[in-house]
């Protein structure tokens, strides 16, 4: 998509980011009150990589992101951003789209974006020019001087996106970016995230949508109760769970998981039943159990589970997660 494409790039090398991970989180702990919301968490993110940050509500994703941004500090462990301490040193290289986001309601959009650009290291004139350019690219060229309160929800979301990338960040952190977006804006945002990654930015994206994670992310990190459950490329994670799902086509196939020793979850759709196997169970055991029922099986196929299924299994404590933890 032409919109929001990076500027033309000169040949000069970037001395500030050669080979250094954008983010290194090592053994980080964070406690609020009596609960450890992040426990011994470690991961890294490299330039040109999109890391999917997955986990149920309250898993500690937002807290971790805020620690990377130096909005809050870890109790233990260390975080490095571009090889240094997070904070003022690197804030001009970071773009952040929080889950709770907004704009100044009674201020012209162009002024708000100019302010954010200036805070992230651009001169006022450069920030204004860049804001104008990006707003025009997302179709808000006529709304430059409108106040945020006068924008439609879709326009508001586009303006927030511009605010996130106005400084052309080297590290982009987006928290539930597709939440509340209409399909058109969601597609536009996906395009932007891919474009940012492809130009070399490191992208950390938290999401509940496993479909988005599967299609967009290079690696995923799944956490639950502050602990890392899964960490690796999408392909590696799916491979680790490759014998965890079986698709069966036929008639009179029992779909109640309690009818099987080897099944933890079953779903039926259009004559196909998809079984998730219990921890340690094998497709062969399910095959034997099916043979003892009145089911007529036309097709029996071992499938790699999708990320949604892996998410459920990993949170439930599936031992296969150990291979990619």
């Amino acid at each position: 998509m032409p919109a929001l494409a990076p500027d033309a790039v000169p040949a000069a090398p970037d001395p500030s980011s050669g080979g250094v991970p954008a983010v290194v989180v090592a053994g980080v702990w964070k406690r609020f009150g009596t609960s450890d919301v992040v426990q011994d968490l470690s991961f890294d993110v490299h330039p040109g990589e999109l890391l999917g940050f997955l986990g149920p509500n309250g898993a500690g994703k937002t807290t971790t992101m805020r620690m990377i941004l130096d909005i809050i500090r870890p109790d233990r462990g260390s975080i490095e951003v571009f090889g240094g301490r997070p904070g003022a040193e690197h804030q001009s290289r970071v773009g952040y789209l929080p889950e709770d986001r907004g704009l100044y309601r009674d201020v012209p959009v162009i002024d708000t974006l100019t302010y954010f650009g200036a805070l992230r290291g651009l001169s006022t004139s450069e920030a204004r020019a860049r804001a104008r350019q990006l707003l025009e690219e997302v179709g808000l060229g006529d709304a430059l001087k409108k106040k945020a309160a006068e924008l439609s929800r879709g326009m508001h979301q586009k303006a927030q996106l511009v605010a996130t990338i106005i400084n052309e960040p080297d590290l982009l952190i987006v928290d539930e970016p597709f939440q509340g977006l209409d399909p058109l804006n969601a597609e536009m945002l996906k395009g932007v995230l891919i474009a940012q990654r492809d130009r070399g930015a490191a992208v950390v994206m938290s999401t509940h949508d496993m479909g988005d994670a599967q299609t967009l992310c290079d690696r995923i990190l799944l956490i639950d109760q502050g602990r890392r459950l899964l960490y690796g490329t999408v392909a590696a994670v799916r491979a680790a769970f490759s014998d965890g799902a079986v698709e069966v086509v036929g008639r009179d196939i029992p779909t109640d998981p309690s009818a099987y020793q080897s099944v933890s979850h079953a779903s039926a759709f259009d004559g196909t039943v998809r079984f998730l196997l219990r921890d340690g169970a094998t497709p062969r055991e399910l095959f034997r159990e099916l043979a003892n029922t009145s089911a007529q099986v036309d097709r029996f196929a071992v499938e790699a589970p999708d990320l949604n299924e892996i998410f459920i299994r990993a949170v439930a404590g599936d031992v296969r997660a150990e291979a990619v933890r």
């Binding site: 040949a11 330039p47 003022a88 100044y104 805070l119 052309e168």
Partner: protein, 444 residues
């Protein structure tokens, strides 16, 4: 460690900014603390001074003083032009039908004329007079005196005021006549009518004009109210700025770009400059208007340069103290309504010294004054009153109150920055007391 075992890296792809900077990224500079502070301060300053509320509040005093001067000019010019006191609407006619020999002294009763009843009635009918006074024959046995008017219509305030003046003069005319009838000596008669002229002097013989007596009440109130109002208006802007960013969900984006310290410092300085702008406009207006007011209203109100300098210091420290508290309240409160309620409590503390103004006027050495001067949150209003009332600046009291207020400002700012950072991102919930206390005493 961090990449294990999930360290399978994604396939390398073409990157165009890892190896080279785009123009935007090339122009991007790491902002220094000072630059961030300046950006925040400048933005908050410009935003606040462009608000209608600020313009209205700031210009109200100059406009009010201008109106006062205009009104005083109007009345002084109209009284100069009329030149005949309460009878500027024509001669005041008096008809004496009693046995008492009444005379009219034009010095005591300018515009009064003794006439017979027919002349008075024809003057009234012809519109040459608006009314006449009839002293009937039973007077002085019966004290009844009549005012005869052309009609019984409701009268304007001006006519009522004129008649009150006429009746005061008529009283003097009649007292003179009664005293003369009893053959009281002119000297005694004059003292009966005008028993004493009070002249005030200081203990060392300096004259005390009525203006300075008025000023002793007027100045501390006006001066203190002016500065306390400005402290609260300015701190209110700070509260509004913090709660607005929290309610609009902008604060997290801002905090990801600016560390909490320059953000808070920028807000405090920017909005402090707003208050300073307001105070400077007010003080400049007062300095321009005071000589004119002194002349027009026979006052003797003066503000010394030292008082002004100290007032500015108390304004700055007072604003910083309340600003630190208000920014913490803004971070803590779930919404702007709750924030205003919490702030109102501290507002009460600030005006407590005004409740004790009576004590200030009678005894500046009172323990109440000392206690209020040493309590940081009441010190600004207390010392502003003391500065305007005390004949000489009480140096010890000033020094101790400044130390108390300054120490509080430092501690409150540190605590507020911690609370600000720890609670700003809690949307719609009240942080527990334990969490607030924990944030205040946290090491980082």
């Amino acid at each position: 460690m961090t990449g294990q075992p999930g360290g399978g890296q994604p396939a390398p792809r073409d990157r165009n900014t890892v190896s080279g900077l785009s123009p935007t990224a090339r122009n991007r500079r790491r902002p220094t603390f000072l630059r961030l502070l300046t950006i925040v301060a400048r933005r908050d300053y410009l935003r606040a001074v462009r608000r209608r509320g600020f313009l209205f509040g700031t210009l109200l005093l100059p406009i009010g003083l201008g109106a006062l001067l205009t009104i005083s000019s109007y009345f002084s010019s109209s009284s100069l032009g009329g030149g005949s006191g309460p009878v500027s609407a024509g001669p005041t006619l008096v008809v004496n039908e009693s046995a008492l020999p009444v005379t009219v002294n034009p010095i005591i009763a300018p515009g009064f004329q003794l006439v017979d009843r027919n002349t008075a009635q024809s003057s009234l009918t012809a519109g040459k007079a608006k009314e006449f006074y009839l002293i009937p024959s039973p007077y002085p046995g019966d004290p009844e005196v009549e005012r005869i008017e052309a009609s019984a219509r409701n009268q304007a305030l001006e006519a009522v005021q004129r008649q009150q003046g006429q009746e005061q003069i008529l009283d003097v005319i009649l007292r003179n006549a009664l005293l003369a009838e009893e053959r009281i000596s002119p000297q005694i008669a004059e003292r009966v009518l005008d028993p004493a002229h009070v002249t005030a002097r200081t203990i060392d013989g300096q004259p005390v004009t009525p203006g300075s007596e008025i000023a002793s009440f007027l100045l501390p109130y006006a001066f203190t109210l002016l500065f306390v109002m400005s402290i609260f208006i300015t701190s209110g802007y700070l509260l509004q700025s913090v709660t607005e960013e929290k309610e609009n969900r902008v604060v997290e984006i801002v905090l990801s770009s600016v560390p909490a310290l320059p953000l808070m410092a920028g807000k405090i300085l920017g909005l402090g400059a707003v208050g300073l702008t307001q105070v400077v406009i007010w003080v400049a207006t007062a300095l321009v208007a005071l000589p004119v007011l002194n002349q027009r209203l026979s006052l003797d109100v003066h503000i010394s340069a030292l008082t002004l300098v100290l007032a500015m210091i108390y304004f700055a420290l007072g604003y910083l103290a309340y600003g630190a508290i208000f920014s913490a309240i803004g971070a803590l409160a779930p919404g702007s309504r709750e924030a205003q309620q919490y702030a109102g409590f501290f507002g009460f503390l600030a005006v407590v010294p005004l409740i004790f103004t009576g004590v200030f006027l009678t005894d500046l050495g009172s323990p109440i004054v000392w206690i209020l001067a040493l309590i940081p949150l009441s010190a600004p209003a207390t010392m502003l009153q003391v500065l305007t009332l005390a004949p000489d600046p009480p140096l010890l009291q000033i020094a101790l109150s400044l130390v108390s207020l300054g120490t509080f400002v430092v501690l409150a700012t540190v605590a507020s920055a911690r609370v600000f950072r720890a609670t700003l991102l809690l949307y719609g919930v009240r942080p527990s007391v334990g969490r607030i206390v924990g944030a205040v005493f946290a090491r980082s």
